[in-house]
Amino acid sequence: MAFPRINAVAFWMIPPAAVLLMSSFFFGPAQAGWTSYPPLSMDPATLIGQSLWLSSVILLGTSSILGAINFVTTIWEMRVPSMGIWQMPLFVWAMFATSIIILVATPVLTGALLLLSFDLLMGTVFFNPTGGGDPVLYQHMFWFYSHPAVYIMILPGMGLVSEILPVYARKPIFGYRAIAISSMSIAVLGFIVWAHHMFTSGTPEWMRMFFMITSMIIAVPTGIKVFSWVATVWGGKLRLTPAMLFAMGFVSMFVVGGLSGVMLASVPIDIHVTDTYFVVAHLHYVLFGGSVFAVYAGVYHWFPKMTGRFLNEWWGKVHFYSTFIGFNLCFLPMHKLGLLGMPRRVAAYDASFLDLNVLVSTGGFLLGVSTLPFLGNVIYSWLKGPRATGNPWEGLTLEWTTPSPPPVENFERLPVLTVGPYDYGHAGRDPSEIVRH
């Protein structure tokens, strides 16, 4: 890390932000959702809670900006001398793209939240229509950050999966440069699609058209990644470890979420299903089936590196299958519920939606239960799991050249790469010979 102290500052901003956020519950809690749209967020009854919410989110945003500065500097300036940008692991590419999004998009959200705080606390009328203000402008500023934010959440996951699939398929990643470049183009394109969240906000026709087209275009780099992952796995000698199962689960579930995303990007469909459970289904397929699956895959893959011990593989598979089934049981029916017109963010629903909701709830409970084998596994294995060697999965990226867990300084000497990060399956190469010292 280029700036360890700033990294620590960024990290330690999170607990106070959490306290602010949680304390909101005790003071007329914020209840305007994660979007915090005015006028809903300007209800005098929730003034204190909403203000605490705002200050918490501003603090978190600042923390992530500081983190992003660290990542961009480290990645751009501190690679080992033998690593050019085209030898960077794809996870590093993904973090680079993510950090650039954070640097550019987050301050605009901060600006919107500051203006909203002024409206709440100082009597300004920026977003207050009765005083001539413009609540839709808040939506624009909010989504200028919050659409890129969905890529902040998914790009690291995509990077993790790009690391994990080749290791367990024993094949070079397919389309290394294409995946790296698509991460960067998603980061850039992500800045010109935000109003697809506002098709029903009185958005003018030309704007709807523009954002519909850009939103569909951004599915292209996303699709390139998916095809590359499939081609990577294709014909490989698959080792179906829990990490690999979750990584492949990621690819398949993310495709479903991507497809519903493209449907939502189409104005006529979106007008019909916006603010219904169809959107809830979409966001869970990309965020749970996507980001959360990727995090699980990452934990199984790097747990031996982090702790020096293996997770139990059998319980890992129990975890995967229960998560996969519970997830689909919970979120697949939501597509249909949304198409039938069940609104999101409303607690009560029409009796005709009952049957599907029973499925959803069953899946929800199963999903809850599915975390137990995971948590148990992590706690038990951390204490008592079998010892792992430095490179148990025969990976070719640099972290696997260190002992498990790595010493404080990672590398005693700067390593010199002799193998690309994904050169699997070449005859006569011993995976332990990744670097030269």
Binding site: A2, F3, W86, F118, F126, G132, P172, E409, D423
Partner: protein, 214 residues
């Protein structure tokens, strides 16, 4: 496409042996330090800061665009003379501060300090002018979109001027420490310069938007 890592790897393997040996030598000390990247990081921070102002400026333009009339009927005319003088002072101060970098590169620490003190004084005059202007205005933060945007934009910028003055004072204090700034290493001087030019640039946009472009 997929061959790229292999290609690049061949390049690495083909690297001349001397270069490898050199790398080896350079890394012989386990606790070597990486180059000073603070200016790089600080520049990234300013990119973020710039986006905050871009957001606020665009919001301001959007408010103007949706308003039926701008400035709204009954808003008193903004006095331009004082802010124009302030603009001249701030822009000039950027040039003054710029001299400090030349001075420190020549090892002239007292000279550098003098340029800093001059800039601090000019920044303080700017702030005083701003406060004076605030007291003369016939509208407040609560006066509709016009008052709100005016005070938020100028206030927010003023805050940055204040931070700049504090940063520069920090540099002045540190410059009394022996060898703190050398012709080769003077991150504090460079950062304060960069920050001040940034604050200056923001003001120029702000001045044009608020006072000139009607």
């Amino acid at each position: 496409m997929q061959t790229s890592p292999n290609e690049s790897e061949r390049l690495i393997l083909a690297a001349p042996a001397t270069e490898m040996a050199h790398e080896h030598e350079a890394t012989a000390h386990a606790h070597e330090e990486h180059p000073d990247l603070r200016l790089f990081g600080f520049t990234l921070f300013l990119v973020s800061e710039a986006m905050l102002f871009v957001g606020l400026f665009v919001a301001y333009l959007a408010f103007r665009a949706v308003a039926t009339e701008w400035p709204p009927a009954g808003t008193p005319e903004l006095e331009v003379i004082l802010p124009a003088i302030n603009t001249v002072i701030l822009v000039a101060s950027s040039f003054v501060l710029h001299q400090s970098e030349a001075a420190v590169k020549k090892g002239d620490i007292p000279g550098m300090r003098a340029w800093f003190i001059a800039t601090i004084a000019m920044g303080a005059v700017f702030l005083a002018g701003q406060v004076y202007e605030y007291t003369q205005l016939e509208f407040t933060l609560q006066t509709g979109l016009f008052g709100g945007t005016f005070f938020v934009l100028t206030g927010f910028h003023g805050l940055h001027v204040l931070v700049g003055v504090l940063l520069m004072s920090g540099v002045v204090v540190r410059s009394f420490k022996k060898e703190h700034y050398t012709p080769q290493k003077h991150f504090g001087v460079e950062a304060a310069n960069l920050y001040w030019h940034f604050v200056d640039g923001v003001w120029i946009v702000l001045f044009l938007l608020l006072y000139i472009v009607k």
